[in-house]
């Protein structure tokens, strides 16, 4: 039984990580570098308008014209400094550069990422309007605060899905899984691959097969498969790496260092296969926002938020009402007691890894709406740490509460600090949580020992 499980897990790892290393056609996604951006301006009523048909160029390299969504991308041959020029004559009438003196911008393209560049545009109509109404709207307006709270809840819901797994794995095994970030990226990347290449299209030799194997599948279906792959990754990591480590008595601190090694290994394997470029899903990449009351939300985000709420409620009910869920909480609460009352602890740990992996992957597919990138998970790891610590490391409901609070706090912090620095709020929350209530909002005192 044990041996068979091991072999299945090995096979699964082969599929997950090797992903057809034997198939030479399985190439990386072409990894040309480039400079990209989106030309847009705000019209008189504050709506974003994308500007199509504008020519941009880089001397001696090439040029591009913006598409219907205002997007452009100019590939460059190698990392280095480039000067990018916008052809002001091709801008629509009434639209101008905010800095008319700067039709050329310098960019530095580093070796593993595309470089985004922004040409700020203004419309004559909008600047006339804002001049008439006495300047921009106040920072603390009802509209802005409610919009930021909504964005914060959105972030919080996605974070909660990602954080519950981390917290439950810690609760049941005592292990802080630093590779959780990669479990999130895994979800994003899997959804991208399924969405663009189909279920097996990335194996190269199957690319020509009919859907769903080749070709690319609808994003919603791809999300379902990506979530399943997330559960599979959780299963494999536990089965192959951490269960064997537990069985041979590797200390928790050593296991923690192992999660870090695993995290770096997975991250750079992702970079190898995916490349450093930012990409977006085939569908739903950009949508117009719907307005209701003073709030704006795209249909895509409303549905994703709805799905998150449903999933979180289902997880909540599952944890409190089902046998498996109660067993998970029992093991989190007191492992020895749970074991002596007849709960199969290893089985519970497996379930927690699968559940955590699936939730992290689903969160990852939602985080990928803005941009799909190889290190997406790493970039939000700080927020997840803050969320689980604030809520109480090891408690599933604490992770939920902490995530929502962190999400809202981060977005509201942009009222006072530059939005570029908003993730710093998470560090401040983390430090204050540890100073004032180290066991977390819903945690018990003995945990922090």
């Amino acid at each position: 039984m044990m041996r068979r499980g091991g072999r299945v897990a090995l096979l699964a790892l082969g599929v997950l990580l090797g992903m057809g290393a034997a198939a030479p056609a399985f190439a990386q996604i072409s990894d040309d570098l480039g400079v990209f951006g989106q030309l847009q301006y705000s019209d008189g009523s504050g709506n974003k308008v994308f500007v199509a048909g504008v020519d941009l160029s880089i001397d001696d390299v090439g040029g591009a014209t913006t598409d219907a969504d205002g997007n452009f991308r100019i590939p460059v041959p190698s990392p280095g400094e480039y000067t990018i020029n916008i052809d002001v004559a091709t801008l629509p009438a009434g639209i101008a550069l905010r800095d008319p003196d700067r039709p050329s911008l310098q960019v530095k393209v580093s070796e593993n990422a595309d470089q985004r560049i922004i040409f700020p545009l203004v419309s004559a109509e909008a600047s006339a309007l804002s001049g008439a109404s006495g300047g921009a709207e106040g920072n603390w307006s009802v509209r802005r605060v409610s919009q930021l709270t909504l964005e914060g809840l959105k972030l919080g819901l996605y974070l909660a899905m990602a954080a519950i797994g981390l917290s439950l794995i810690f609760g049941t095994t005592g292990l802080v899984n630093f590779a959780h970030a990669e479990m999130i990226s895994w979800g994003t990347l899997m959804a991208y691959f399924f969405n663009i290449y189909g279920l097996a299209g990335f194996l190269g030799f199957m690319a020509g097969w009919p859907a769903p194997f080749g070709g690319g599948i609808e994003f919603v279906v791809a999300t379902v498969f990506a979530t399943a792959m997330g559960g599979a990754l959780g299963y494999v990591l536990n089965r192959l790496v951490f269960r064997t480590a537990r069985n041979s008595g590797v200390s928790l601190l050593a296991q923690m260092v192992m999660t870090i090694g695993l995290s770096i290994l997975l991250r750079y394997v992702f970079l190898y296969f995916f490349g450093g470029r930012y990409r977006s899903y085939g569908e739903y990449a950009s949508q117009r926002a719907n307005k209701f009351w003073v709030l704006e939300l795209t249909t895509r985000d409303s549905i994703a938020m709805g799905v998150s709420v449903l999933i979180l409620v289902a997880v909540g009910i599952g944890l409190t009402r089902t046998r498996a869920g109660r067993a998970m909480r029992a093991v989190s609460d007191n492992k020895d007691l749970a074991e002596s009352s007849g709960i199969d602890v290893e089985k519970v740990i497996t379930q927690v890894w699968v559940l955590g992996g699936a939730l992290a992957a689903l969160a990852g597919t939602f985080f990928g709406f803005d941009q799909v990138k190889w290190d997406l998970g790493t970039r939000i790891l700080l927020l997840i740490f803050a969320a689980v610590t604030l809520g109480g490391l090891g408690t599933a409901f604490g992770a939920l509460v902490g995530a929502l609070l962190v999400g809202v706090a981060i977005n509201l912090s942009t009222l006072v600090i530059d939005s570029e620095l908003k993730n710093m709020t998470a560090l401040i929350v983390l430090i204050f949580a540890l100073l004032l209530r180290p066991q977390g909002l819903l945690g018990k005192k003995q945990r922090i020992g």
Binding site: K108, V250, S251, L253, E420, P438
Partner: protein, 334 residues
Amino acid sequence: MDWGFILERSFSAMIGPEVMIYALAAVGLNVHFGYTGLMNFGQVGFMAAGAYGVGVTVFWLDWSFWLGLVFVFVYAGVLALLLGIPTLRLRADYLGLVTIAASETIRLLARSRVMKPVTGGVEGIDKFAEPFYNLSPFDLGKFYSFGPFKYLGRDIWVLCIGWTLLILVTLMVQALMRSPWGRTLRAIREDEDAARALGKNAYFFKMQSLMLGGLIGALAGLIQVIQKSSVQADTFNPVITFTIWTILIIGGPGRVWSPIVGSSIYWTLIVFVENVLRQLPAGARANLEKTVELSDFNIGMLRYIIVGLGLLLLARYRPQGIFGSREEMALDRR
């Protein structure tokens, strides 16, 4: 395939600037983790503190380079206090969470638009290290070779100063760890409750250890930016911290010379593998390329895949390191 070139590169890497810088940072981590059992996952944050200590002083305040050296230690000391106060009373993993979060936040803050007037933003800071190089007795642009080693004059100057510092710091750590103070740290590592029962203020000792190791890390950051002649926020990436962890575990945590040995082994191996891959004969290259692409980008990335796999396997199978002894191994306990 030019074996002479590959060996020359590998030999030069054995005592090269990277070895010296990473060994110094690992000495700091060794004080933290090897001797005190602190899980510092943000050593790169201390390196950044050191780097910006001098960078910001010269760039923003327009003060002298030599005055900047003071700030290297001020920043690192303050950072250690900020990280230590909330976490050192708690279980070991909380320090890990906060340090990894803080080191990444420092990088993001340093490269942000808001901080551009202070830190130079993404472009970073350059032309600050002239006073250091002006003192060089070597011709900066000339290649010097002795035995199998070959370096540029400016690198030799950095190497002389750097290695002297590294040896001095290592000897200092050795003396400290033999002192009653060092024995207390090790007692805390082995059993904090027992140390407390004997009347030692464990929090206080752990804070001192965090500061000492942080200062050594800052020194490593300082030498790194002097050697590169530029302060770039993105060079202080979290993966550097874990390269340092790998180096420390290769050498064996809790042993005085292990950072130097580990760093030398790590960099020689990396330089050797990278150069071999770059110079494969056409036939072998074509065979290998059927499965993996060997662009420069991929070969550069390989180092991190090796770090990740190495750390995973070392922590799993040889947590005491290649040369370490089980008695001196904090990873194995608790």
